[in-house]
Amino acid sequence: MDRNSHINYILQLADNALVLGHRNSEWTGHGPILEQDIALSNIALDLIGQARYLYQYAAKLAAGEVTEDTLAYGRDAWDFRNCLLVEQTNGDWGKTILRQFLFSAWQYFFYEQLQQSRDSELAAIAEKAYKEVVYHLRWSSEWVIRLGDGTTESHQRMEKALELLWKFTGEFFVPAGYEKEGIGIAVDPAVIRPLWEDKVNEVLAEAGLRANPETWMQTGGKEGRHTEELGYLLAEMQFLQRAYPGCEW
C-alpha cells in the first residue's frame, strides 16, 4: 500500500467516525428523554474519540504541517472520505437510530477484522474502538426492534427511515481505489458483507421491518463525491477554525 492510499484509508475511517459523531452530537440537549440524550451523546463522544486516534495517526504519516485539527477542520467536502450514510441528516429519532444501527453493525464486523491488520497501530485502535462499538450495536439494535415492533406510528416511521437510508448501505462493500491496494492492512469488504447482512436482517426481521432488495445503491462518498448534506454539516462544524484559524480555548 503506498503512503497516499494508506493515509486515505485511515482518513476514510476517521471521517466516518467524526461525521457521525458530529451528527449525533446535534441531538445533545434535544434528545426525546434525558436518558437517551445522554446515551446518544456518549456514543457521539466515543466516535469523536475514535476519529481523534485515527486523525493523529494519519497526521503522523502525512508529516509536515498536518495535524489532527487541520484534517478535521481544514478540509473541504470533496476531501472527506466518509460513506454517504453517516452524513445524512438526523431526521426523527427513528432515522437517527436506524442510521446508527446500520453503521454500528458495519463498524462491529469491520473493527473485528481490522484487529488482525498488519498495521499494528490500526490494529490497536481497532481493538479499543471495538469494545465501544459492541455497545453501540447492542443499544441501537434494541431501539430498532423497539420502534419497528412498537406502535403503528413508530413502525411507519422506521419503514420510512429504512426507505431513506437503505440506499446508502451498499457503499460499505464497494471498495474505493485506495482500499483495493491494502491487502494485509485493509479489511476485505467481501469478508464482512455476509456477516453484516446476517446481523442486519436478523434485527430487522425481529423488528418486523424489511428492506427492499431492489434498492439502487448510491455510492461516491469514499471517493469524495458527497450528498449536499455534508456541506452544511462542515459549515457548522468547521466555522470556528475557519473564522479564527488556530483558535484555542
Binding site: 426525546p32 434525558l34 436518558e35 445522554i38 446515551a39 456518549n42 434494541e142 423497539r146
Partner: protein, 95 residues
C-alpha cells in the same frame, strides 16, 4: 410527544468487586432491559461501576418518617450492640 412518562426505576451500582450495590439515583425507562442500559449511560460514564441493579420505584417500600423516634431512637443507648470491643487487623478493609 405525548406527556406520558415511562416508569421510574431506582438504580443500584456496585463500584468494585466485593463491595455492596449502593443506591446511585433514578432513571426513566420503558422496561428492565432499557433501565439497565439507561443506568449504564447515566451513572457509569466515569467508571463508577462494575455491576448494575435496577428495580421499579413502585416496588420500593419505605419506612414512615413520622415513626422515626419510635423506630430508631431506642437503639441510641444500646452500646453493647456494637462490636467495638474487638481489635481488627489493619489488612481488613471495608468493615
Amino acid at each position: 410527544m405525548t406527556e406520558q412518562q415511562w416508569p421510574l426505576w431506582e438504580v443500584f451500582i456496585r463500584s468494585k468487586q466485593g463491595l455492596d450495590h449502593k443506591h446511585a439515583g433514578s432513571i426513566h425507562a420503558a422496561d428492565a432491559a432499557m433501565a439497565i442500559e439507561n443506568a449504564r449511560d447515566v451513572y457509569t460514564r466515569r467508571m463508577e461501576g462494575v455491576s448494575i441493579w435496577v428495580v421499579e420505584s413502585k416496588y420500593i417500600h419505605a419506612s414512615n418518617p413520622d415513626e422515626a423516634s419510635s423506630l430508631y431512637d431506642p437503639a441510641n443507648d444500646k452500646i453493647y450492640r456494637h462490636p467495638t470491643f474487638y481489635d481488627l487487623p489493619d489488612e481488613l478493609k471495608h468493615m
